[in-house]
């Protein structure tokens, strides 16, 4: 059986329907802001995580110094990972694939256009272990080269194109490579090998032109079983860094967690911006509740004078705030689904994760917060109503 104070609240809301609806719009906006921003953040995190976790089974080993040279033929001066260290790594890695990597940045020229990008030197046999060739074929050796999809489309590279490597300088004849294949897009790769804007050449070509034979910039260990990541890292660390810290050992999982924590911070921040709209909504609910109390002073006087308890008067007004909250949260919840879906598909371009709990739960969260904000906004008006002097209240016309 329904509470008479609830009935009174419903009737009061109905009596002031337009005003109540207008106040609820604030809550609708607040709920939509919180839910859709939350969902946006969640979908962003989920899709980034998905992209990153595809090669999360890789341990990256690098010397702490970033090695760059600008000109072909000039060897990098900083230390890399030498042959004996590589042997230690290979021993420690056991069954897992060990991939030594040469890398530097370079200028290049195709036709008459100059460009800049990364150049990787890899053993041709290693390439297919972690890279996908979308077009053409793998390196065979010599001056074969693979190019990333971005560099290929930006510089109009095709199979058979020749690229001159090194600084464009009339007095120097530069070596050139021939494109034999184009790689599939990798995006932001969590194994540290970002090939979308890179040229990949055989390790032999690389060391012929950059020197650095048997000195590597990075060594990746691709695990057969992701669960062995910690023990493999420990084994490598034990072998290689026995006396001094020779190399830095990292894996994508730590990078992944640091990126998701950054994204989490961003989500919190945009949620905080969304909450500002709820503050505005709270003010409008407070305002409408105060109007309701002030218009019903005599009625409150009647209720109190015939023996209604203060807590019952408070309850009546809190119900009213609650009803406004339910209306706002209900409409806001539905609107959040529609608007959230549009925002996610417009800004992330991918709605695969929209209906996952991590994302969709922001709708009920937003709704609950909306209702709570309403009830909290009604606390003071309800308290005021319940503490009126019945004689004064009755006299009020």
């Amino acid at each position: 059986m329904r509470d008479i104070f609830f009935d009174l609240s419903v009737r009061s809301v109905r009596l002031n329907f337009l005003r109540s609806i207008l106040a609820s719009i604030g809550i609708v906006i607040g709920v939509v802001a919180i839910s859709s921003m939350g969902m946006l953040g969640a979908n962003m995190q989920l899709s980034v995580k998905q992209q990153l976790s595809s090669d999360v089974n890789t341990i990256m080993i690098s010397s702490d110094v970033v090695r760059t040279t600008s000109t072909a033929g000039v060897p990098a001066t900083s230390q890399g990972i030498d042959k004996s260290t590589l042997n230690d790594i290979t021993n420690a890695a056991g069954q897992n694939q060990v991939i030594p990597i040469h890398r530097t940045n370079t200028q290049f020229t195709i036709g008459s256009t100059d460009g800049r990008g990364s150049i990787y030197g890899l053993n041709p046999n290693d390439i297919t272990k972690f890279l996908t060739i979308a077009q053409g074929e793998n390196l065979k050796g010599g001056d074969d080269a693979l190019v990333g999809p971005n560099i290929a489309s930006n510089f109009n590279m095709n199979i058979g194109s020749r690229i001159k490597i090194g600084q464009n300088n009339v007095s120097v004849t530069r070596p050139s490579v021939r494109v034999v294949g184009i790689l599939a897009a990798r995006g932001f790769a969590s194994d540290g090998i970002n090939t979308d804007n890179a040229i990949i050449v055989p390790d032999t070509w690389y060391t012929d032109h950059y020197g650095d034979k048997d000195v590597y910039d990075q060594v990746n260990v691709i695990l057969q079983n992701i669960d062995t990541i910690n023990q493999t890292e420990a084994a490598i660390d034990d072998k290689v860094n026995r006396r001094t810290e020779v190399v830095r050992i990292s894996d994508a999982s730590s990078r992944l967690s640091s990126i998701s924590s950054t994204l989490g911070t961003i989500t919190t921040f945009i949620l905080a911006i969304g909450s500002i709209s709820l503050v505005v909504a709270a003010v409008s609910i407070f305002n409408v509740m105060m109007m309701s109390v002030n218009e019903r002073i005599q009625e409150i006087g009647i209720l109190l004078s015939i023996g209604t308890e203060k807590s019952e008067v408070r309850r009546m007004f809190l119900y009213e705030a609650f009803i406004l909250g339910i209306i706002g949260a209900g409409v806001g919840g539905i609107a959040s689904l529609v608007i959230g879906y549009s925002v996610v598909s417009a800004m992330i371009g991918n709605t695969t994760y929209f209906f996952l709990p991590e994302s969709i739960l922001y709708v009920p969260y937003g709704m609950i917060i909306g209702v709570v904000v309403c009830v909290v906004s009604g606390l003071y008006p309800a308290w005021r109503a319940s503490n009126m002097d019945p004689i004064d209240a009755l006299r009020n016309e």
């Binding site: 059986m1 008479i4 009174l8 209720l303 004078s305 015939i306 209604t308 308890e309 019945p390 004689i391």
Partner: protein, 226 residues
Amino acid sequence: MDQTPLIRLADVSKVYHLESGDFTALNHVTLDIAENEFVAIMGPSGSGKSTMMNQLGILDVPSSGKLFIDGKDIAKITPLERTHMRRDVIGYIFQKFYLIPLLSAYENVEYPLILKYKKRDTTGKAAAVLKSVGFDEEMSSHRPNQLSGGQQQRVAIARALVNEPKILLCDEPTGNLDRKTGFQIMDILTGLHKEGKTVILVTHDPKIAEYAHRTIELEDGRVVPT
């Protein structure tokens, strides 16, 4: 041993603190009202009649002196106990009816039952009391603003009666009604007195005061000796 009457005012004063100074609306009033009395309170406007009714209705507490109602010292009980006494011991009937505008006639009468028993009435008591004051059953679902003054006052009386209070306080109950309707209301109150209620009635009208068995005259907040 002296038995305390149903209502006892012992040297009761009510002082309003105004910017222009203190104003004594009730001035050392001493008065006993026994169970099942029918008392009329008369006096010119501003003489303190409503102030006295507010004391008897436990809407207010005396500034000084002692007020006992149904054996309880009103100054010594908690605010919640005062609220419960208003609900259970006193039925208040106002000049302006003061029905709850958002409730139907029936719900207005059911309301005190809900306050007391914390649930909707299923005993049919509210309907029975409405019938006993001569209220047209077909109007039960009407809101107060759809009812005439006489009908509203019947609903108000039914509301005051429904929790079977010992005391009925009527502050100019006929003041907003035409003469004929006023006398009908007075007939209802007379009947309730015969059933054993203690009725206290404020009025300007000597014809109305004739219904009572005892008249108390107030002037400037004092009881005029008879």
